[in-house]
């Protein structure tokens, strides 16, 4: 086969090109021809097709994501915002924290272990590329019905993959989510978050500047696996019979990635790196075009110098390969030798593959012949933008009218007891210890809190005990009922979880998991959710630092519930002041913060007891969330409470159950005036938390709440070996424990 050089392309304008097979639309192909003033070469076509895919270009979502910038709250904390590999937040004492959440949904359905493993690998490299040492990971997961046979294939593989990769990298897993719902059958969601820490002066950016600087590719050799994998796979719908295309899935090598981390951190320490980019989806196409696009000049690359695992790869394949565990750095010529030396020390292969030029073009050569000559921005940053049509689906009204408040409620204390046990034992509410016990949460020796606590917390300075906390949350059922409110509820819940541990929320990252953007109903959900999230972030003062969009989570006509997952990052000046969730002191008082209303739409109770989804989700009051957060943080700082747990799915009884089981002590609860026992225990009103208060602090605490206008109700005391609701029922802790802890092992072990 003759090489399709730029010259050849100029001479053969009419040559047929496989743009359609590469996922491009007719008008997109026309635009490429227009940009270049000729037909693209095969290599150029490969680059444009992967970079203009939905996954890489955000072409359907861009117009909506804009709001995160437009409505961004004023804050000094944001050091690097949306657009870089990950956002960076100032957490004080000269430290900066970077974190981001990303999806690896489609590959994880096809090859659960490797799909999930490489999802962790990819997000870790993003964090590393910012100049930070990765310090923890989290994994929000969604699966089909817990008892569906395919869940037994997908879940254990995903969990083993998350653990296999993260454990081997030495990153503590400090939290996540496991949610089951039939809507995720065939479209499991595997989101992965990584957080990293650096000094302010160590922030690195993905740009190629300084003519004459060298472009160094380092890490694994490039192979033929996963060519177009992430980008193509994540950019179309699975048809009903399974994935319509099966490009090879990538296999991860966490050992190589661990070497890459240590090697890269040493390169940073010696200040050898001018610009840096990880290789993820779209591989070298992405890294070279993004570095050049963000930089000052052009770039010239000798593609034949890329070290290969398979000598027969064509230049197009090399450009599209998504082989894992690779990074690309821009290095001053005088520093190249030392750079290569450090790579050798870590057994990492490193190769100079090109240099920054004073031109404006990205030029790629293959054995001396030019095969790419493009304006890099047109590939990386000026891809197509769609204004996809969207419309509120016609079924939305009926769904919201189907009020969960009308569902039959328990008629007696005995029936209430039965339903409470059913809720805490249901797969979504049950203990996830069987899963999280497969993740290393101790490694690095800085884990202050990890699952099942409300947020994961990491000490980042051993002298001052400065720490950060992160929680991720999302509730697809709420978002289905009302995507705008659902997104805000996800934000509010993660915010509350961070505050509950005593940390001050600073910023968020999000992963927006939706169905096909070609369906106007899905696009409406997306538009509403992004609007809700942007408005919510403005109200709470927490900017969006970055995130990820995963579309086409859909089998045939059936889309997943709209599932915005939100990660909130907070800071705590002294991790010794953190508030854990366990009830550990007999006699301490239990207080409920916030208002309880009759809110059952989308609730765990409506799902478990009635298999029902309808009505409206709980009302959102972000001012209240903020106030609640402030109270929880003050109470932690001033030592007024010794346990706190946020209320979310499953309501108050779920939270009390978890705090009791964690501490090994029971609770005696009294139903407060003005609310019935059922609503008290199982409503899912937002903006609430339970806290344990020593008697000596009671007055100080209630006075503080009163002075700041937060409703606070004494609901009981930590006591005994049962959870007792006076006048209704009592459940021994052993019975609760069996119900809560046996479910997941019984389904999966």
């Amino acid at each position: 086969m003759t090489l399709d050089t730029v010259k050849h392309a100029e001479q053969s304008p009419e040559a047929a090109q496989p743009w359609k097979d590469l996922g491009l639309k007719q008008d997109e192909y026309e635009r490429i021809r227009e940009i270049l003033g000729r037909r693209p070469t095969g290599a150029e076509l490969a680059m444009y097709s992967v970079m203009w895919s939905e996954h890489c270009s955000y072409k359907s979502s861009k117009v909506h994501l804009k709001q995160f910038g437009e409505k961004a709250p004023q804050t000094d904390a944001l050091l690097v915002g949306i657009g870089e590999n990950a956002g960076v937040v100032d957490v004080g004492q000269g430290y900066a924290v970077t974190f981001k959440i990303e999806s690896h949904n489609h590959p994880s359905y096809i090859e659960p272990y490797q799909g999930a493993a490489t999802g962790v690998g990819g997000i870790v490299r993003d964090i590393l590329a910012m100049g930070a040492r990765p310090v923890a990971v989290m994994d929000p997961l969604r699966f089909g019905a817990a008892d569906h046979p395919d869940t037994k294939r997908v879940l254990p593989g995903v969990v083993a993959g998350v653990g296999g990769y993260g454990n081997c990298l030495g990153l503590p897993n400090i939290g996540g989510e496991v949610v089951f719902d039939p809507c995720y059958q065939g479209n499991p969601l595997v989101n992965a978050l990584c957080v990293g820490v650096m000094r302010h002066e160590d922030i690195h950016l993905a740009k190629a500047s300084g003519a004459g600087n060298k472009v160094i590719l380092y890490g694994a050799r490039t192979g033929g696996d996963g060519i177009g994998g992430v980008s193509v796979l994540a950019s179309e719908t699975f048809d009903a019979t399974g994935p319509s295309r099966r490009p090879a899935v990538q296999v991860g090598d966490p050992f190589q990635e661990k070497l890459l981390i240590e090697c890269t951190l040493e390169l940073f320490r010696e200040k050898l790196v001018t610009g840096i980019q990880d290789l993820g989806g779209a591989g070298l196409s992405c890294a070279t075009s993004e570095l050049a696009s963000a930089g000052s000049g052009g770039m010239r690359v000798e593609l034949d110098s890329v070290p290969l695992r398979d000598a027969t790869l064509s230049p197009e394949e090399i450009l599209m390969s998504e082989s894992q565990e690779r990074m690309c750095a821009i290095v001053e010529p005088g520093k190249v030798d030392r750079f290569l030396e450090i790579c050798e020390k870590w057994d990492v292969i490193a190769t100079v593959i090109g240099e920054v030029t004073d031109g404006t073009r990205l030029e790629i050569f293959w054995h001396g012949e030019q095969i790419v000559d493009v304006p890099p921005r047109s590939v990386a940053h000026e891809g197509p933008t769609y204004e996809r049509p969207y419309a509120r689906p016609d079924w939305q009204d009926a769904l919201q009218a189907d009020d969960a408040g009308k569902l039959p409620r328990p008629a007696s204390g005995a029936e209430l007891r039965e339903q409470v046990l059913a809720v805490v034992a249901s797969p979504n509410q049950a203990s996830k210890a069987w899963i999280t016990g497969q993740y290393d949460r101790f490694v690095q020796g800085n884990t202050v809190l990890a699952q099942p606590e409300d947020s994961g917390m990491i000490r980042i300075d051993e002298e001052t005990d400065l720490g950060v906390a992160i929680a991720t949350d999302g509730n697809g059922r709420f978002a289905k009922l009302d995507p705008y409110a659902g997104a805000q509820l996800a934000l509010a819940e993660a915010y509350r979880n961070v505050a509950a541990t005593g940390a001050k929320p600073l910023a968020i990252s999000d992963c927006l998991n939706f169905g096909s953007p070609e369906d106007p109903a899905v696009m409406w959900q997306f538009a509403e959710a992004t609007r809700g999230l942007a408005d919510g972030c403005l109200a709470l003062g927490t900017p969006v630092t970055g995130g990820n969009v995963s579309l086409y989570n859909q089998t045939g006509e059936a889309a997943i519930h709209p599932t915005p997952v939100v990660a909130v990052l907070g800071v705590i000046d002294d991790v010794n002041r953190r508030t854990p969730m366990a009830f550990t002191d007999e006699g301490h008082l239990i207080y409920l913060l916030g208002d309880t209303r009759e809110e059952f739409g989308g609730s765990a109770w409506s799902q478990v007891v009635h298999d029902h989804l309808g009505g409206l989700p709980p009302a959102v009051d972000l001012d209240r969330e903020k106030l609640l957060g402030e109270i929880l943080i003050s109470a932690s700082r001033d030592g007024m409470i010794d346990a706190a747990h946020d209320l979310s799915d499953g309501g108050l009884i779920q939270a009390v159950t978890e705090s009791c089981l964690r501490g090994g002590l029971g609770a005696r609860l009294v139903v407060p005036d003005g609310v019935d026992a059922f609503t008290f225990l199982l409503s899912e009103s937002a903006g609430r938390a339970v806290v344990a208060v020593p008697r000596s602090e009671e007055l100080r605490f209630t006075d503080m709440c009163g002075a700041r206008g937060l409703p606070v109700t004494r609901i009981g005391v930590i006591d005994g070996e049962a959870v007792e609701v006076q006048g209704e029922f009592s459940i021994p802790l052993t019975e609760l424990r069996d119900a809560h802890e046996a479910t997941i092992p019984a389904l999966l072990a």
Binding site: I110, A220, F255, D310
Partner: protein, 81 residues
Amino acid sequence: MARVVVDVMLKPEILDPQGQAVQRALPRLGFAGISDVRQGKRFELEVEGPVDEAALARIREMAETFLANTVIEDFNVKVES
């Protein structure tokens, strides 16, 4: 009772980190002249009853759907003599 062996290897184009780690270690241990190592799995199945074409067809199906993930792996079924 007959033994059927199913070998499962990563497809040639797929990265094999384990095989690579072994290969890279060999020269250090003083073993030269091995240009590539691939590591896979070997399943030894004890089969009740005769291993006729029908039995082998079932085992091939088992390998295809369960023992191997054919997105990344190839397999080979053989009767042990």
